[in-house]
């Protein structure tokens, strides 16, 4: 609707509404960032003084650094496994040649519908019963399961926008199975695969529920570490770690937007 068709009081109200909502959405993040630069021993906002001391603390504290590396390692592995498995599945689903395509699509998206806590308990109990104590691999597999639906969804969304005759056209031009995958289907699905990969990384890196259920000494991810500190005795070092996580998220969002356009995936 042209903007002059909207009464001026509505426009004013909309503006106020947006400002308040944005403040509400950003406030906790801003506060965390603010606290991280505090000089004082105590968590306070606005911060008392300005310093980077808590970043120094964090970077020299092996509890944090090892949790950080655990998180990064798992997130990178999950990115690879979820993108490969989810991407391949999305291609198969996109072609609609398998029996029960609709059922299969639901199957691949089901980890999205089921609350993570229910899956987390199941995974913990299953792994303990079958393989014994949980390990790095358990968490890798668990995060991959959670991340696969995102890759499937973004890849399917992108593939469904492409010309459905491209593969057939490639066949008439002499392209065999592997060639069609490499030169036609994967290039078409690339933006979706890319977005899915970034989402997979983000989900694994930020995930707290599964990581909390599967935690054990030596298998602590960054969110679990932060959660533990918050329950126990938070000091501004938690804010410094959290700020690093926020910064990583910002970078990820910018990369997705630059490479692929955020709007496409915002509502898929």
């Amino acid at each position: 609707m042209a903007s002059f068709l909207v009464p001026s009081w509505v426009r004013l109200a909309a503006r106020i509404f947006i400002v308040v909502t944005v403040i509400f959405l950003l406030a906790p993040l801003v506060v965390v960032v603010g606290v991280s630069f505090s000089e004082s021993q105590f968590i306070a906002f606005p911060p008392d003084g300005l310093s980077l001391r808590w970043y120094q603390t964090v970077l020299s504290d092996t509890v944090y650094t090892s949790a950080f590396w655990t998180s990064i390692r798992i997130a990178l592995l999950v990115t690879v496994s979820a993108t490969l498995l989810g991407g391949a599945a999305a291609i198969a689903l996109h072609r609609r040649m398998l029996p029960g395509s609709a059922f299969l699509a639901t199957f691949f998206l089901s980890p999205l519908v089921l609350p993570t806590i229910i899956y987390a308990i199941g995974m913990l109990m299953f792994w303990s019963a079958v393989f014994g104590p949980v390990s790095f691999v358990t968490l890798w597999i668990g995060h991959t399961v959670i991340a696969i639906p995102y890759v499937v969804r973004t890849t399917l969304a992108v593939l469904s926008e492409s010309d459905p005759f491209l593969e057939e056209a490639a066949r008439t031009m002499g392209a065999g199975r592997i060639q069609r995958l490499l030169y036609v289907v994967i290039p078409q699905g690339l933006p979706g695969l890319g977005a899915g990969a970034f989402f997979a990384f983000n989900i694994s890196f930020d995930e707290a529920v599964l990581s909390l259920f599967l935690r054990k000494p030596g298998l602590t991810t960054l969110p679990v570490q932060i959660y533990g500190q918050l329950e126990f005795s938070p000091d501004p070092s938690v804010a410094a770690v959290s700020t690093i996580m926020i910064a990583l998220t910002v970078v990820l969002i910018l990369v997705i937007d630059r490479m692929l356009g955020l709007q496409r995936f915002a509502s898929t």
Binding site: D163, E168, A170, T172, M173, G174
Partner: protein
């Protein structure tokens, strides 16, 4: 370049029979149009020749070789799609090189030369490095054509390639297709629902109706002598008027008017095919069939009348020198030799 032979090809999608036993011989270098309304099976037949659809029964031969069970990528064909199916991530030149690359035809340099030659053929040499989405519809269409001819296929398949273009471009492309065919002499199968395209391009038209071949002939013959009511309806805007051949040899319309047909025919029910451009119109007092004007449509140089003739709605196309208004009674005349008669 090769001939194509279809032998009793049948195709069913589930319970729906789409092709009822099509047999067709297409000579090497021939330009054949498959003409018909949407859903008549013409595109399915083209896809069967391409190998994109499997036959339910029957046989497909290209160049004397049985290819019925051969995958499309192993057939030496190329196909131009209605949507053009240009690979959006590749440049124009890379798109055209794609079939050469996939089929491993020639060295890199030879491929490059072929691509340039194909681009010249469609007059797009200056756009080689563009991406498809940067081109207009007409340019994309030419790229698709260049890509289809670059590998010098045994058979060129065209699936309604002109239907996404506006009228002017379509006429230009028709001329271009004729010239390219003249030069390359590729065996070409062209699917269209547009009779004008089929008439102007082809050596032969195969008219489809509900999964069967209704009639096949040269454009001139199929236009002048449609064998069935369907054919006469589909080709040219012919008027079909039911009549009976009386004992005196003339045709008697439903309202009792009679019309000389200039030939000896057995007594019986027939349909008269009266082409709209063959009929001439005159004032009521002239000799001829009496009809009533329903509507007059002004077309600039010409004029179309919608008329009631013996209870049938017919159209005629005339010059603009005399005008009649709705409700006027007029006389229609036609050269008996131009009347086509189909037994009913």
């Amino acid at each position: 370049m090769a001939n194509v032979r279809l032998e009793n090809v049948k195709k069913a999608f589930g319970p729906v029979q789409v092709l009822h036993g099509i047999s067709l011989d297409i000579a090497s270098g021939e330009f054949v149009s498959l003409l018909g309304a949407s859903g008549c099976g013409k595109t399915t037949l083209l896809r069967i020749v391409a190998g994109l659809e499997a036959v339910t029964s029957g046989k497909v031969e290209i160049g004397g070789r049985d290819v019925t069970a051969l995958a499309p990528e192993k057939r030496d064909i190329s196909m131009m799609f209605q949507s053009y199916a240009l690979l959006p991530h590749l440049s124009v030149a890379e798109n055209i090189r794609f079939p050469l690359r996939m089929r491993g035809i020639g060295s890199r340099e030879q491929q490059h030369e072929k691509v340039l030659a194909a681009l010249e053929t469609v007059q797009l040499g200056h756009l080689a490095d563009r991406k498809p989405r940067q081109l207009s519809g007409g340019q994309q269409q030419r790229v698709a054509l260049a890509r289809a001819i670059v590998s010098d296929p045994q058979v060129l398949l065209l699936d309604e390639p002109l239907s996404n273009l506006d009228a002017r471009l379509r006429e230009d492309m028709q001329v271009e297709l004729i010239e390219i065919h003249k030069r390359l002499k590729l065996t070409t199968i062209f699917v269209t629902h547009d009779q004008e395209e089929a008439l102007s391009l082809s050596d032969r038209i195969v008219l489809f109706n509900a999964g069967k071949v209704e009639q096949q002939d040269t454009p001139a013959d199929i236009y002048a002598q449609p064998a069935t009511e369907f054919a006469s309806n589909f080709l040219g805007s012919a008027n079909l008027v039911p009549a009976e051949i009386g004992s005196d040899g003339s045709a008697i319309l439903a309202d009792g008017q009679s019309l000389a047909v200039g030939r000896e025919l057995p007594v019986g029910k027939v349909s008269l095919v009266l082409r709209q451009e063959d009929l001439s119109i005159a004032a009521e007092d002239a000799n001829g069939l009496k009809a009533t004007v329903r509507t007059r449509v002004f077309l600039g140089a010409r004029c179309r009348y919608i008329l009631d003739l013996a209870g049938e709605r017919i159209q005629i196309l005339t010059g603009n020198d005399q005008t009649f208004a709705a409700g006027d009674t007029v006389s229609l005349s036609i050269d008996p030799a131009r009347i086509r008669i189909i037994p009913r």
